[in-house]
């Protein structure tokens, strides 16, 4: 059984020094993502959202902390579990929820759905459904940044399950060889769909793949959003200043199944409960209380998030259906 204690790779005795002002916006993002995912799950069970729906509940600290280390014009490339990353990169809950509903007002006009969020203005390069196939794309965005010398950095997120496929291996090798300003972030949630680490990886430390390429690496626990931000910031700085890529592995856990159709029978209730007790979202709230954020302020923030997500759902419900698909096959 996986537990937060067994999975931990560093001691947890030194919380990152923080202020309310620094932590509050990150908490707000994490909470909004959690509420957005809960609203998505509800709409899915009502048959209003179709297809595959992969929720990121439990892992929010990773995408929020990592993206907080970026400049607005940096790139993010994500997997099919992309709602949290998209929100963290500044995409609105309205556009995302309308997309999940398959509406004309959706982020990509009902053409992509849950797995394929894109936003050029926000530097959000997807939303990719083929495991590992997006790692070279992130390296390519970084290649372009270096080619132009514009100082941009690309973050690429993937699960530990992607570490066994060729797209990851080749993207990693070329990023190292050509010194591309990309940070490769393995969100190790300990299960590639239903297969635990020990049944998919001979060496469970994914970050060690960097060693063969002489690439910088890091590995840490993903339950403290500020720690994620600080550690990713080091890798981002390295990429921006020296073009050196970094392979970062962040240990995390998804509380829900792989997708909505997965009841999660491959792990015990006790295991999930253990991890839920260490919920990064609650941890962040507790930290804000400890730092002296008034209860009334916290409640106001939470009410604000609730209203934002309710508005997004209402927007999606009342938007017109998607109505065109030919204009975007070939660019004239």
């Amino acid at each position: 059984m996986s537990t937060p204690e067994k999975a931990r790779v560093e001691p947890d005795d030194e919380p990152v020094v923080a202020t309310v002002d620094e932590l509050k916006p990150l908490y707000r993002q994490m909470l909004a993502i959690r509420r957005l995912e809960e609203a998505s799950a509800k709409a899915y069970s009502q048959g209003k959202i179709g297809g595959f729906l992969h929720l990121i509940i439990g892992q929010e600290a990773v995408c929020v902390g990592a993206t907080a280390a970026l400049r607005p014009d940096d790139y993010v490339v994500a997997t099919y579990r992309d709602h949290g990353h998209a929100y963290a990169k500044g995409i609105s809950a309205r556009a995302m929820m309308a997309e999940l509903y398959g509406k004309k007002t959706g982020l990509v006009k009902g053409l992509g759905g849950s797995m394929h969020f894109f936003d050029k203005g926000k530097g959000f390069l997807g939303g990719h459904g083929i495991v590992g196939g997006h790692v070279p794309i992130a390296a390519g965005a970084a290649f372009a940044a270096k080619y132009r010398g514009d100082g941009r950095v690309a973050l690429c997120f993937f699960g530990e399950g992607a570490s066994t496929i060729g797209g990851f291996a080749e993207g990693l090798a070329l990023a190292a060889l050509w010194k591309l300003p990309v940070v490769l972030i393995c969100e190790n949630n300990q299960y590639s769909m239903g297969t635990p680490l020990y049944r998919s990886l001979a060496v469970e430390d994914v970050s060690m793949r960097a060693l063969a390429h002489g690439m910088a690496r890091d590995r840490f626990d993903g339950d403290d959003v500020l720690k994620v931000k600080q550690r990713i910031a080091i890798a981002v700085e390295r990429a921006r200043e020296t073009n050196e890529p970094t392979l970062v592995e962040v240990i995390t856990y998804r509380f829900r199944g792989h997708s909505m159709s997965d009841p999660g029978l491959y792990r015990t209730k006790e295991e999930v409960e253990e991890w839920r007790r260490r919920d990064p979202l609650n941890r962040t709230r507790v930290r804000l209380e400890e730092l002296g954020m008034p209860a009334a302020d916290l409640e106001a923030l939470e009410a604000d998030v609730k209203a934002e997500i309710e508005d997004a759902v209402h927007f999606a419900e009342t938007s017109p259906p998607a109505d065109e698909y030919f204009p975007y096959v070939i660019k004239e």
Binding site: L111, F118, G126, P136, A138, A144, G167, Y328
Partner: protein, 326 residues
């Protein structure tokens, strides 16, 4: 007009487009220091430096994907596959990423990229290096698929492909690099989706692309000796397909023979045949004929290799069937 080789024409196209647009770069195995496995990129490294002529390790999926990512944020990559046989290990990047991105992102990201390299059977390189894969790529919406048969077409089409805002699969005839054709000194572009009559004729329409155009021209010569005038139509691009030029020809001749070096089952010729019967039913005087390679992986021995592929005698025989002379 200068007479230059197909290889030189491609080289000129890339050189001119790289001079014209700083965002164009070339990436692939042996494209730089080695000067290209087939010498198509000869001299480009010296002219444009390793920033824009990028030698890669053997990692087609990786560098094809890097091209897609770079294209998404505004560069115009030319990805060279040493042969299109090796594109199969990168096909996920072409089909799942390059072809889908524009639609999947509702127009937010387009992918102006050219995947190019030699394609089709060469000479005695056996089954894994002798595939004609155009039917695979022509199947996929979001891609353009180009197969030039002459140096003139190669230059004009490649320049257009590089300027196109969509992913273009540009398949060069592996045995055509040394062939020559007249090419004007001044700049010209050939639009994608416009076919060309390679030889006019009134008795039968031969539809062929890439090296099969040459086989058809030889067959037409042999047929002419028997008083049969074949029209050779080269669509030049399979996607988009210039059905108009094909159907106009068939409406004139009443007979159609489609010649491709690919395998028969689900080959692109079947699509051409469908379009022709759909649009020219009242003009057809005989069933449409197809000439393809035999339905086998390519053998090594020269005599067997020749026998597998469409030859002049096969085309002549198909024409005679279409004319009820056989």
């Amino acid at each position: 007009m200068a007479v230059i080789s197909y290889r030189e024409a491609l080289n000129q196209a890339m050189r001119e487009e790289m001079e014209r647009d700083e965002s164009v770069f070339i990436m692939g195995e042996e494209v730089g220091h080695y000067q290209g496995a087939y010498k198509v990129t000869q001299g480009l490294l010296q002219r444009f430096s390793s920033r824009r002529v990028v030698d890669t390790p053997i990692a087609e999926m990786g560098f094809a994907g890097i091209g897609v990512g770079a294209a998404m944020v505004g560069l115009r990559p030319i990805i060279e596959f040493m042969t299109f046989n090796f594109s199969l290990v990168a096909i996920d990047q072409i089909v799942s990423n390059a072809a889908k991105m524009y639609q999947m992102s509702a127009g937010a990201f387009h992918v102006p990229i050219v995947f190019r390299g030699p394609s089709g059977p060469a000479v005695q390189v056996a089954s894994q290096h002798s595939q004609a894969l155009e039917s695979f790529y022509a199947h996929v919406p979001g891609l353009k698929v180009v197969l030039p048969s002459t140096a003139y077409d190669a230059k004009g089409l490649l320049k257009t492909a590089i300027r196109d805002d969509n992913p273009v699969v540009f398949m060069e005839g592996e045995t055509l690099y040394g062939t020559t054709w007249e090419v004007p000194e001044q700049e010209y572009l050939i639009p994608l989706g416009k076919g060309d009559i390679k030889r006019p004729g009134k008795d039968v329409t031969l539809v062929a692309w890439s090296k099969m155009v040459w086989v058809c021209l030889d067959a037409a010569k042999a047929l002419a000796a028997e008083g049969i005038e074949a029209e050779v139509v080269d669509p030049r691009t399979l996607r988009p397909l210039d059905t108009e030029i094909i159907c106009d020809s068939v409406k004139k001749t009443g007979r159609c023979v489609i010649v491709e070096v690919g395998w028969p089952v689900a080959g692109f010729g079947a699509e051409v045949a469908y379009q022709v019967q759909r649009q020219c039913m009242d003009h057809l005087d005989a069933p449409i004929e197809r000439v393809c390679s035999d339905d086998v992986p390519m053998p090594y021995a020269k005599n067997l290799e020749d026998e597998v592929q469409p030859q002049v005698k096969d085309v002549v025989a198909a024409v005679k069937r279409a004319l009820y002379l056989a």
